[in-house]
């Protein structure tokens, strides 16, 4: 459009965009890759090294003298240092001051005159011409190159032990009704605002635009008090799913009405007027003509509301509670950040479980999301 496609400037554009895309995707990629790594590897090396084998230096204690067998006149203790796990040993030693003194595959003489051999695959042998004594086995220090290991264990762990599965269901329970209820209520209100003449219509529309940006924080304290009072009167707890659904409905309505009103107001007048002439009532016009035609706007809002309710932390924490059974995914994740702060295998897997549904919705329905965004921001002059 501006610079011609052949201009050297275009290379700069390609490169800059590529750099920005990488910058924007790397954080999420790191999370996903880390969540699939073996937890020891995750804790000892950066996720960008996930494909190369990592070297670990550690120690193994051989069995004590009771494990020795007599073979060809020598007493032998043997086994495998790696205990069945994969890896390749590069060096070993018997003293903590020089843990990598000897190359794998060679033999050395221990202070007690035994011979120690460690092979690359982890097989070791301690042998002595006389019977060995003592219950404490020989310590063998070794450096091992562990091949990259990918696993779903982290996910199994968090779903089972950390309560992510229950929270997942809680999140669904919150998000689905909290998406559908406001759409119904808003659609009728939007139709009235767009197509039914009544005194005060313009004022009402302006009030709704104003309510679009009233901070959620304003509502929390009075609503919580009100819930507790109503709950007390009805003999039920003040916190619960119904309360969360209604709260999300109230907070989502301004945007829903605004989006739908603008969309419906743009529908051709002739369709509605010819239906009126044919004797259709407003209710019939709404259900049979307006609703089907407004599908794109309804879908846009539904996606917004679903993402917002699924990703919400504040409303769920305040109106549903923070008990172990009540936590939605976001709340659970905040708790894990506190209690399992350093356990990145738990945190990365949990975080990925919380974002997988919104990401799926995003990639599947991006078109509607973009359309909704464009319609939803109050346009400037």
């Amino acid at each position: 459009m501006i610079a011609s496609t052949r201009s050297p400037l275009m290379w700069l554009v390609h490169l800059t965009v590529a750099a920005l895309v990488i910058l924007w995707t790397i954080p999420t990629a790191g999370l996903l890759i880390s969540s699939l790594r073996d937890k020891d590897q995750l804790a000892s090396s950066g996720w960008w090294t996930a494909l190369s084998s990592s070297t670990q230096s550690t120690v193994f204690r051989a069995p004590g003298a009771e494990a020795q067998v007599e073979k060809d006149g020598r007493f032998v203790i043997s086994g495998n240092i790696l205990q069945g796990q994969g890896g390749k040993i590069s060096a070993f030693g018997f003293n903590s001051r020089d843990p990598g003194a000897f190359e794998a595959g060679t033999s050395t003489t221990l202070p007690g005159n035994e011979t120690l051999t460690v092979a690359e695959d982890g097989a070791f042998e301690i042998s002595s011409p006389t019977a060995m004594e003592g219950n404490r086995g020989q310590r063998i220090f070794y450096t091992v190159a562990v091949p990259p290991r990918f696993t779903l264990d982290n996910y199994r762990e968090v779903l089972r032990a950390e309560g992510l599965a229950a929270s997942f269901i809680n999140s669904l329970t919150v998000a689905i009704p909290a998406t559908i209820i406001p759409i119904l209520i808003a659609a009728f209100a939007a139709y009235a605002l767009a197509w039914m003449p009544f005194p005060g219509r313009a004022l009402l529309a302006a009030v709704i635009v104003g309510l679009l940006v009233v901070p959620l924080q304003m509502s929390l304290i009075p609503l919580l008090k009100m819930y507790n009072t109503v709950g007390g009167l009805l003999g039920v707890p003040g916190k619960g799913y119904v309360g969360v659904w209604l709260a999300h409905t109230g907070f989502g309505l301004p945007l829903a009405i605004y989006l739908l009103r603008n969309y419906m107001a743009g529908l051709p007048r002739e369709i509605i007027e010819s239906a009126r002439v044919d004797g259709a009532s407003d209710f019939e016009i709404f259900v049979k003509i307006i609703l089907p035609l407004s599908f794109p706007a309804l879908a846009s809002f539904a996606i917004f509301q679903f993402l917002w309710t699924w990703n919400d932390l504040l409303v769920a924490m305040v109106f549903l509670g923070t008990g172990n059974d009540e936590l939605v995914l976001t709340g659970r994740l905040v708790n894990l950040l506190g209690s399992r702060g350093g356990n990145w295998e738990i945190l990365t897997a949990s975080a990925f479980i919380t974002i997988i549904v919104p990401l799926f919705v995003f990639f599947a329905l991006q078109r509607f999301l973009v359309r909704g965004l464009l319609a939803g921001s109050v346009k400037g002059g």
């Binding site: 924007w24 790191g30 090396s45 635009v209 304290i221 975080a351 400037g380």
Partner: protein
């Protein structure tokens, strides 16, 4: 599972009840004021009355919900802010007096202003340049999708993602956080980024910028495409170069949209809470108003102080509410 089932049943009931309300209330209205098969004057009288009532049937549930969840709480919060921690004794402006001499509140105001300065500006800036550049390359759509993606991620999820990037291990041990690994690679000293007073604010802001740039990009990209071709062509004929066209022809035509993006992100910044709660919970001088309000309301269980902080947030938003209404009225007037 049982719970999900209960949710689905409740949802079906709610949807049915809602549909039934609208259907039955309309039916009832038509029964009370029938217009079909009636004599001329009576029919037109009934039609007029029903026409005056029907909008309110349609609007009813929405008005009740808006009133209960948004309008009443504004006054409720005002009332609580003038009362003590339990909302029983009237204390006048005591909560505000306390607020303005509280160190943590001042810290929050300072940090909030930092956020307000940095986040909308950088998000809009990145959004604008990405929109301008991706519109000109073949794989721009793909690039936009990837940059837009963080928009779908919750603030808490994003906080975990970035906390992992900022992860810090003591000097000498292998860094598994990307930022510290880069710092070490280039010969620097690793830092515990999120506990560095003052600077940690910027590391928290990066998260919101990462999320909001996609939003700015989408809106501004549409605005750039809406610029009339002729204006650009005329500039090309007059011999303007790419930068001149972008800054002198295109930007002035989308000022309105830039302002909208800016204010939308500004409002979001004022309400930002999840990121601070998840990353630092206000420690190391990174407190912001929304999190301070939450901590007084929830952990401090002091409704008076919580409400006072909420009001401060509200006051900061009011100019934007005014500006929005003015714009929207001008726009709706056109229909």
């Amino acid at each position: 599972m049982q719970q999900l089932f209960a949710a689905i049943v409740t949802m079906a009931l709610g949807v049915l009840a809602c549909a039934a309300y609208f259907y039955l209330s309309n039916l009832l209205l038509d029964r009370i004021f029938p217009s079909k098969n009636r004599s001329g004057p009576e029919a037109s009288r009934n039609l007029r009355i029903a026409g005056a009532i029907r909008p309110w049937l349609f609007l009813g549930p929405a008005l009740i919900a808006l009133g209960l969840f948004l309008v009443y709480p504004v006054f409720g919060t005002l009332w609580y802010s003038l009362h003590d921690r339990n909302g029983t004794t009237f204390v006048g402006l005591e909560n505000f007096r306390w607020l303005f001499q509280d160190g943590e509140f001042r810290q929050s105001i300072f940090n909030n202003f930092l956020w307000l300065l940095v986040v909308p500006a950088l998000s809009t800036f990145f959004g604008l340049i990405i929109a301008a550049m991706t519109d000109r390359i073949a794989w721009g759509g793909f690039a936009k999708t990837l940059i837009f993606m963080p928009m779908a991620i919750s603030f808490v999820g994003a906080s975990v993602i970035w906390k992992f990037i900022y992860d810090y291990r003591g000097e000498g041990s292998e860094q598994i956080g990307l930022l510290n690994a880069l710092v070490v690679y280039f010969g620097g000293e690793p830092q515990a980024w999120i506990s560095l007073p003052f600077w940690n604010n910027f590391f928290l802001m990066a998260i919101l910028i990462w999320i909001q740039t996609g939003f700015a990009m989408v809106i501004l990209s549409a605005a750039l495409r809406g610029i009339p071709e002729e204006t650009v062509e005329a500039a090309v004929i007059d011999g303007a170069n790419g930068f001149q066209i972008f800054f002198k022809i295109m930007i002035p035509q989308i000022w309105g949209t830039i302002a909208v993006v800016w204010t939308t992100i500004t409002i979001l910044v004022l309400k930002v809470f999840d990121i601070v709660l998840a990353m630092t919970n206000g420690q190391w001088q990174s407190q912001v108003l929304a999190n301070l309000m939450f901590s007084w309301m929830f952990r401090g269980s002091d409704n008076g102080r919580g409400a006072a902080i909420a009001l401060v947030i509200m006051v900061l938003v009011i100019p934007i509410i005014y500006w929005n209404i003015r714009n929207a009225r001008r726009e709706m007037g056109g229909r």
